[in-house]
C-alpha cells in the first residue's frame, strides 16, 4: 500500500473519529469540530506523511476517550476494604475506565499489544474456523459417518471410474450397504435461457440424492424410473445456489425447459438451502441423460458411486464385502472386469483427503504464533508491572488487598484482550467478506452470520479470559513483596469479574459480527 494511500486512509479515520464524539457536543459544535480537525490535518506536526497522520489519530483517539470515558471526579484510589456485593459492578466499571484511560495514556504500549494480539487472534480465528469446518464439524448429511464413496481399482491404480453395470451389480450383491447410488459430475452447457453458460452437472440415479439427504425446496426429487435405463426421462433438478444466482430465484422455474448439452430437460425441483452437494453440482440430471451412450457398456468406466454402509457395519467390513463382489464379477466377466477391484472410502476422508495433515500443521503453527503473541504481551505487561510498583505499593499502603489489585490487573488485561480480540475478529471478518457474501447469497440469514462470528469470537474470549487470569495472578505474585499482611484472593469476586468481563469481551465481538451480518451479498460478490 502506498504511503499516500495510507495517509489518505488515516485522514478518513480522523474524520470518522470526529463523528464519534457525543451527540450533544456534535450538535452544538459539529462544524467547529470539523474545522478543528481540518486545522489539525494542516498542522506541520500531524502531516503530511503516514507518521504524522498516525500521530493525529492517536491524539484524536485519546481526546475521544477523555470525552467518552469521564474521570470519576477526583482520582480515587481503590481502597482495600472488601467491596460489598452491590458495589462490585461499580468497581468493575471503575477498573475498566481506569484501564481505558491508562491505555490511552500509553498509546505506544497499547498499539503494540493490540496489534500483536490482533495478528495472533486473527490468524487463529481464520485457521480455526477452517479446521472446525473441515475436520471437526460433522458433515451436513444424514448418517454422515456411514456414507462412503465407492471406486473401481486395478492392480496399479486406486480410485478409478467404474462402469454403470458394475455399480448396479455392487448394489445388487453387496450385503453390507443400505443402498448404493451412481454419481458422475461433468460440466454441462446450458443454452436457450439467455446467455449460454457452463454449469457443473451431476448425472445420478434417484437414490444418490436421497442417500445424501437432499430435500426439495420447490417441486420434488427424481423418482427411480426417471433415472433407469429404458424409462429415463429428460428431467433436471437445480441446486439452491444456482437457482438463486443463475435463475434469479424465480419460483416459476418448475416446469421450465432448460437446454442442457443440446437436449431439452424439464425442471422438476430445486434442492433446499441446507443441502450441499459434496461433488459441487449446480444441476442434477438422470444418468440416462449421459452425454455419451457408451457409458452404458459394461467395459466403459464412466461413473463412481456413493453408498451408505448398514448400521453397525465397519468401513473395513464393507470394503471386504465389496472386494469379494468385485472378485466375483471379475470371474463372471473376465473380458471387462479381470483384475478389477473396488475401493470404499469414507466420505469425510475422501473430502478432506490430504488436507488433514496440512491443516493440522498450519493450526499448530498459528497456535505457536498466538503463544508468541501472548508471551510478547505478557513481557510488555511485566515490564510495565516493574514500573508500576510504586503505584501498586501506594494502593497497598492505602489498604487495597491482593484480590483487589489482581482484579484491577485482570480488568486491564481483559480490556486489552477484548480490544485485540475485537480487532482480530474484525480482521478475519474483513478477510472473509466474500465468503459471508456467498453464504448470504445461498440463503444464510443475518442472524446465522452473526451467530457464526459470535461463536468464533467466543473461543477468542475464552483464550483471553485464560490469558487475563494467568497474567493477573502472575503480576499479583510479582508485586506480592510490596504488600504487607493483606487479604488473600477472593475466589468469588475473581470468578464474578471473570464472568462479567467475559460477557463484555463477547459484546466487543458483537460489533464485527453485526458488521459481517450487514454485508450486502451483491456488493461482496461483485468485489471479486
Amino acid at each position: 500500500m502506498s504511503a499516500r494511500r495510507s495517509a489518505a486512509q488515516a485522514s478518513h479515520a480522523a474524520r470518522a473519529i470526529a463523528r464519534m464524539y457525543p451527540a450533544s457536543l456534535r450538535g452544538a459544535h459539529g462544524d467547529e469540530i470539523a474545522s478543528f480537525v481540518d486545522d489539525l490535518r494542516g498542522d506541520a506536526r500531524y502531516g503530511p506523511g503516514i507518521v504524522g497522520r498516525v500521530r493525529l489519530l492517536v491524539h484524536l483517539a485519546r481526546d475521544l476517550i477523555a470525552v467518552r470515558v469521564p474521570a470519576t471526579g477526583r482520582t480515587r484510589l481503590p481502597l482495600g476494604e472488601p467491596p460489598r456485593r452491590e458495589r462490585r459492578l461499580e468497581t468493575l466499571a471503575h477498573d475498566a475506565r481506569l484501564a481505558l484511560r491508562g491505555m490511552a495514556n500509553r498509546p505506544a504500549f497499547t498499539c503494540v499489544a493490540v496489534i500483536t494480539l490482533m495478528l495472533g487472534i486473527g490468524a487463529n480465528t481464520a485457521i480455526f474456523s477452517v479446521v472446525s469446518a473441515v475436520l471437526l464439524r460433522p458433515l451436513p448429511f444424514p448418517h454422515a459417518e456411514r456414507l462412503a464413496v465407492l471406486w473401481a481399482t486395478n492392480s496399479t491404480n486406486r480410485q478409478l471410474l467404474a462402469s454403470i453395470d458394475g455399480v448396479n451389480d455392487w448394489r445388487a450383491r453387496a450385503r453390507t450397504f443400505d443402498d448404493i447410488g451412481i454419481v458422475r459430475t461433468q460440466s454441462v452447457n446450458l443454452t436457450g435461457a439467455g446467455t449460454p453458460d457452463r454449469l457443473v452437472g451431476s448425472f445420478v440415479t434417484a437414490n444418490s440424492l436421497t442417500l445424501l439427504g437432499a430435500h426439495p425446496a420447490l417441486g420434488r426429487l427424481f423418482v427411480p424410473p426417471e433415472t433407469e435405463k429404458g424409462t429415463g426421462q429428460a428431467v433436471a433438478i437445480v441446486s439452491y445456489g444456482a437457482w438463486r444466482t443463475r435463475f434469479g430465484a424465480d419460483r416459476r422455474i418448475l416446469g421450465r425447459t432448460l437446454v442442457l448439452n443440446g437436449r431439452p430437460h424439464v425442471v422438476v425441483g430445486v434442492t433446499d438451502s441446507a443441502f450441499t452437494d459434496p461433488f459441487g453440482a449446480d444441476v442434477w440430471l438422470p444418468i440416462t441423460s449421459a452425454p455419451n451412450q457408451n457409458w452404458f457398456q459394461r467395459g466403459t468406466a464412466s461413473v463412481w458411486a456413493v453408498g451408505r454402509v448398514r448400521d453397525g457395519v465397519s468401513m473395513d467390513r464393507a470394503q471386504r464385502d465389496l472386494s469379494a463382489v468385485a472378485a466375483q464379477l471379475a470371474r463372471e466377466y473376465p473380458a471387462t472386469n479381470a483384475g478389477s477391484g473396488a475401493l470404499v472410502i469414507r466420505l469425510r476422508d475422501w473430502l478432506v483427503g490430504t488436507v488433514r495433515p496440512t491443516l493440522l500443521i498450519v493450526l499448530a503453527f498459528v497456535g505457536v504464533v498466538l503463544l508468541i503473541a501472548c508471551a510478547n504481551v505478557a513481557n510488555l505487561q511485566l515490564a510495565r508491572a516493574t514500573r508500576r510498583r510504586r503505584e501498586m505499593s501506594l494502593r497497598a499502603a492505602l489498604g487495597a488487598g491482593r484480590s483487589r489489585l489482581v482484579r484491577q490487573l485482570l480488568t486491564e488485561n481483559l480490556v486489552l484482550s477484548a480490544l485485540g480480540g475485537a480487532a482480530g475478529v474484525s480482521f478475519t471478518v474483513a478477510q472473509r467478506t466474500h465468503e459471508v457474501g456467498i453464504r448470504m447469497a445461498l440463503g444464510a440469514r443475518r442472524s446465522d452470520v452473526t451467530r457464526m462470528v459470535l461463536v468464533q469470537g467466543g473461543r477468542v474470549v475464552l483464550v483471553s479470559l485464560a490469558f487475563g487470569l494467568v497474567g493477573a495472578l502472575g503480576a499479583g505474585r510479582l508485586i506480592r513483596n510490596q504488600l504487607f499482611g493483606v487479604s488473600a484472593a477472593d475466589p468469588v469476586s475473581l470468578l464474578g469479574v471473570t464472568l462479567g468481563l467475559g460477557l463484555v469481551a463477547l459484546a466487543a465481538c458483537y460489533l464485527p459480527a453485526r458488521r459481517a451480518a450487514r454485508v450486502d451479498p451483491m456488493v461482496a460478490l461483485r468485489a471479486e
Partner: protein, 102 residues
C-alpha cells in the same frame, strides 16, 4: 480562560495557545476543548463573539471571548494562585533542596 485574556480566539487558536503556553504539556483535542467551552459558556464565563467573520477565514469557526464575569473570575483565581505561590516562596517550598550534612 487565560488563553482568551488578550482577546477573542476561535477553538483551534485557543488549543494552539494552550499548547504554546504549557510548552506542549497540555494538548487539547476538539472534544475536551469544546466540552470545556460548553461548560464555560453555560456558566456565563465565556461567550461566543458575534463579530463578523474576517475575510478568508473558515466560515465554520466561531470566536469566543471572556465575559465581564469571566474576566473577574479569572482575576480572582489568579489572585488566589498568586497568594498560594507567594506563601510557598516565603516557606522556601520552591527552593531546590540541598543535601543535608550528616
Amino acid at each position: 480562560m487565560l488563553a482568551l485574556a488578550d482577546g477573542e480566539r476561535h477553538g483551534y487558536a485557543i488549543a494552539r495557545e494552550i499548547d504554546a503556553v504549557t510548552k506542549g504539556a497540555v494538548r487539547m483535542g476538539p472534544g475536551t476543548l469544546y466540552g470545556t467551552l460548553q461548560r464555560l459558556v453555560a456558566s456565563a464565563l465565556v461567550e461566543p463573539s458575534h463579530a463578523p467573520h474576517r475575510s478568508g477565514d473558515d466560515p465554520r469557526r466561531r470566536y469566543y471571548r471572556l465575559t465581564a464575569r469571566g474576566r473577574s473570575a479569572l482575576k480572582t483565581e489568579i489572585d488566589r494562585l498568586a497568594t498560594v505561590v507567594s506563601v510557598a516562596r516565603r516557606r522556601h517550598v520552591l527552593d531546590t533542596p540541598r543535601p543535608e550534612a550528616v
